[in-house]
Symmetry: C2
Subunit: 161 residues, 2 copies
């Protein structure tokens, strides 16, 4: 059996994380969206006010995936939660339990921090992931739509008379 291990990412992992982000975007058919650089990720993860935290998962000592998350907040509950932005396992290491191990660790961090909710998004065609999340007892929020304003559209709204 493969030996799985999970550890917090360090600054040295930045090139690895960027590689994984690109692989995840490729898998999600969103490679054209990736504009992240090592400098941007270093500032976001290890700057003065970190915007997110990352975990590195390894199989037999070799880095094979990552999870990246940041806090959110529910006004209805009045309590913090965690938003899991990315969960990724390299194709050659899938089926060994690393995705579950990463998600379990994120859940443990959520428990430690007294979080009321752990949330994440998945593309609606990603059946293997959806099946996996359902098995864990996660509930899809079918009646909510997510809206997004990006870049220039944010500025246009800000300046609207």
């Amino acid at each position: 059996m493969s030996e799985l291990s999970i550890r917090p990412a360090t600054e040295r992992d930045i090139p690895l994380i960027l590689r994984f982000i690109r692989e995840l975007a490729e898998y999600e058919k969103l490679a054209q969206e990736v504009a992240a650089t090592e400098a941007l990720l270093r500032a976001a993860l290890f700057g003065e006010h970190p915007a997110a935290e990352a975990l590195i998962g390894s199989v037999d000592g070799e880095p094979a995936g990552y999870a990246l998350f940041f806090p959110n907040f529910s006004t209805f509950l009045g309590r913090p939660g965690l938003h899991l932005e990315d969960l990724y396992v390299c194709p050659e290491h899938r089926g060994k339990g690393l995705g579950l191990a990463l998600l379990r660790r994120v859940a443990a961090i959520a428990v430690e921090r007294d979080c009321a909710r752990l949330e994440w998004s998945v593309l609606d065609w990603n059946e293997p992931a959806i099946g996996f999340y359902r098995e864990l007892g996660a509930v899809p929020l079918h009646d909510w739509m997510v809206f997004r304003l990006s870049g220039e559209a944010i500025r246009l709204l800000a300046e609207r008379r």
Copy 2:
């Protein structure tokens, strides 16, 4: 014409914000979910490490709505964003432009902080809100599903063998 004003919330606004949260939950048919208290909101908004920020909108000097938001992060862009958790205007003050004024102020804050995205969720039956968001140029993310683990289910996952 009514005079609209927007200001950052202060600790004195906590009872008002809790009232607005309850009214929003009522409108969204989710009143049974509200467990927030003044103490929880005070800690979240004005504690040592604030989890969220709020704006109070007034019509002719009278508080009439609020917006509440917190940071998020896009790994694909490598840049921060804002998540708008709540946007609410009292029924008697709707149609005066306060919702737009609040959203514009949130967009201006997003521009100031060099945010790449401004995102929020809306219930799929809330047609007036959906129409309003589309007019602003916001794009619904139709191909993403949101999954949630809550309370006990997080602990069960964390402890799973």
